[in-house]
Amino acid sequence: MTLADTKSGNKVVIEKIVDKMTRLQALRFGIGEGSEVECAGILRGGPVILRKNLQEVAIGRKMAEKINVRLKGAV
């Protein structure tokens, strides 16, 4: 699944960020491949908001579709 398929409240593990620039910028914000994050909100057709501790980052829809995640606990 991708980040765009998550629901608010889901805890997910980031598996792969396809776009290189996104990958680098996300690393600066504290989110990398392997990070555990919570989906703090998702707007229909719009951005996804990720939360890691107190840090919140909004990610646009198209970008979110190119980030692969799995639900925490699932393999």
């Binding site: 690393l27 600066r28 914000f29 990398g32 719009g46 908001i49 107190l54 840090q55 919140e56």
Partner: protein, 618 residues
């Protein structure tokens, strides 16, 4: 940017050391800066609006405040600016938000990796307590290898300790000590460059460094970023403990702001407050006192009397100074009596909005909508700023990802976003007409805005870039910051608009004296009277509008028009050409060809729309 390279500032006084303040956006840097230098500086809450560098003096050292950044590189203007200052630093004071260590320590680690002596101010310790976070400061100091001083800058706690500890800044534990293969790479590049900082930035594929040295290093940016991230996560795991904390009200509010069901009403409420404050309170009540009561009824008669007693009123100079469009009468009254209160009111609201952290949340909320216009949520910042002054907003379009987005944003700004001065005049004219006309006005402008954006999105090649935005915590804005910012921006407005007004007043008087104005009015009659259904004198307002749009709208206020005519004239004027100042900036930011296209595009759109509304209203 009208600021000074570090070398140039050094010429002003012989500084022993360069102390450079570095941190993520909104961490409280400017408070440290003011404390150290005793100077107060502009404080901005949003990335993209703090491009000024403040500099000052602390004892024999030079102190620089840099734009907030998440890392050092050349990803955007802020980073390029911050990077230059960091490279010139003898001491880096790194201010970090203790409640966002995972994010902030990435920059800290990078500063350490650059080999700069660093002192860390662990700010926002009050937030840490409130959110039930535990931080082992001694361990953090150990892990980083640099002094860490807890502070609550907004309450003044820890500031004197920072001052006293400047000399303790030291090189910390870089990631290279952990990763021998990286160390080897760095060593090889360092041999070929002036210093280690340059070498590291080369390895990190920094454009400016590559431009300077050429491709002498094999890029390892991603590898370094991943290792740095791992290192930071390790440090955070060892030193920070997030306890389950009760959900704070502001966290709830934050999620309400971005959820459409609650976010749109909240945004509506905000717009209503803005309307009540600017459109009703400032534009009616305040402006009545400043414009009518003071300038028109008291100031102008005195000036006229003075002029008629000296040079006389009924000659060329008298007209220029004190006539209908005189520089001492009309230009002064418009600038100070009418526009200044409106502009100041708007900047006040904007400063509150910026400092509260609401803006990025609006960006999230409107992202989907703006994507349809070929923009992304970030574009809300220049758009909102555009309501303040299109000129300034045009400059901030730099924060948009691509050239395509910049063209769309600049066109929409020039076309359909009235600046605060103009908006105030418009509000003053249209609010008394009642809701029907307000609605017609707002809807028309909105439709044109959406249509133009959709059109550009279709015809311009490429697609819009995506949002990636850090949502800062919500905060009650600090009144001092807000007032300071309002003051500075209002002064900037007067400085920018004042001379153009005077020039405009002279031009119009000349045109009136030479009969050119009547000629233009006659010439434009088919357009103004035939197509738009306005009296022929309305042409004067349009001529004035070419100079400044608010100037044009203000020109309407003295004409006798029906409600429908006022609405049509205002719609046409709103969509009409961007003012001279905005045009100059557009040419500078884009190029002459695009600017001229925007200019003529606005003519077309303005008269076409005005005419259509005229047909509908009759």
């Amino acid at each position: 940017m009208d600021c000074c390279a570090p070398e140039r500032l050094d010429d002003n006084f012989a500084a022993d050391r360069n102390i450079v303040l570095v941190g993520n956006p909104n961490v409280g840097k400017s408070i440290f800066f003011n404390y150290l230098t005793g100077l107060y500086v502009s404080v901005s809450n949003y990335p993209g609006t703090t491009l000024d560098i403040s500099s000052g003096k602390f004892e024999n050292d030079a102190v620089f405040d840099t734009p907030g950044v998440y890392g050092v590189g050349s990803l955007n203007d802020e980073e390029r600016v911050a990077r230059d200052f960091i490279l010139s630093a003898d001491i880096v004071v790194n201010v970090i938000d203790a409640s966002h260590l995972e994010r902030d320590l990435f920059l800290t680690q990078q500063l350490i990796d650059l080999g700069k002596p660093v002192l860390v101010a662990l700010n926002m310790m009050d937030e840490v307590k409130r959110n039930n976070i535990e931080i082992d400061i001694n361990k953090l100091e150990d892990q980083l290898g640099v002094p860490v001083i807890p502070t609550v800058a907004s309450k003044g706690e820890g500031l004197s300790e920072i001052k006293a500890s400047l000399g303790l800044a030291t090189n910390g534990n870089s990631i290279f000590s952990k990763y021998p293969d990286l160390k080897e790479k760095l060593f090889i590049v360092t041999e070929k460059t002036r210093n280690r900082a340059d070498a590291l930035l080369l390895l990190e594929e920094d454009e400016n460094e590559i431009a300077e040295y050429g491709n002498i290093a094999v890029g390892a940016r991603e590898e370094i970023y991943i290792k740095r991230r791992q290192r930071v996560d390790e440090i955070v795991n060892e030193t920070v403990h997030y306890n389950q904390s009760k959900s704070l009200f502001k966290n709830k509010l934050s999620s309400w702001m971005v959820k459409p069901i609650t976010g749109i009403p909240l945004l509506g409420l905000l717009l209503y407050i803005i309307y009540k404050f600017i459109g009703v309170f400032v534009a009616q009540t305040v402006v009545y006192w400043t414009e009518e009561w003071f300038f028109l009824d008291r100031y102008e008669p005195i000036i006229r009397a003075l002029i008629s007693n000296s040079v006389g009123l009924n000659n060329f100079f008298g007209e220029i100074l004190g006539g209908e469009f005189g520089i001492l009468t009309m230009a002064v009254t418009y600038t100070f009596g009418l526009l200044l209160p409106l502009v100041a009111g708007f900047y006040l609201l904007l400063a509150i909005l910026e400092d509260s952290g609401y803006l990025p949340r609006i960006a999230v909320l409107v992202d989907r909508f703006l994507q349809k216009l070929g923009l992304n949520g970030r574009a809300i910042i220049p758009m909102l700023l555009g309501f303040g002054c299109v000129t300034m907003a045009t400059i901030t379009t730099r924060l948009l990802g691509t050239k395509r987005e910049r063209i769309i944003a600049i066109f929409l700004l020039g076309l359909a976003i009235p600046c605060s001065a103009q908006l105030g005049v418009i509000a003053g004219l249209i609010v008394p007409l009642g809701y029907k006309y307000i609605l017609i006005y707002v809807l028309t402008i909105f439709i044109v805005y959406v249509a133009a954006g959709t059109f550009l999105n279709k015809v311009l090649p490429g697609e819009s870039s995506d949002l990636l935005l850090d949502l800062p915590p919500l905060r009650l804005p600090d009144p001092r910051n807000v007032l300071k910012k309002t003051y500075q921006q209002s002064v900037a407005f007067i400085k920018e608009a004042g001379p153009i007004f005077v020039l405009g007043a002279i031009l119009i008087t000349l045109m009136k004296q030479t009969g050119l104005l009547t000629m233009i009015s006659e010439f434009a009659r088919p357009l103004t009277t035939g197509w738009l259904g306005l009296p022929a004198e309305a042409a004067t307002a349009f001529v004035m509008g070419i100079i400044r749009r608010d100037f044009g709208a203000a020109g309407l206020s003295t004409m006798v028009l029906t409600a429908g005519q006022t609405t049509i004239a205002l719609i046409t004027l709103t969509l009409f050409v961007p003012c001279i100042a905005a045009m100059m900036i557009m040419v500078k930011e884009r190029n002459l060809k695009e600017s001229i296209m925007i200019w003529f595009g606005s003519w077309g759109a303005a008269f076409l729309t005005g005419g259509i509304v005229n047909i509908f209203l009759n």
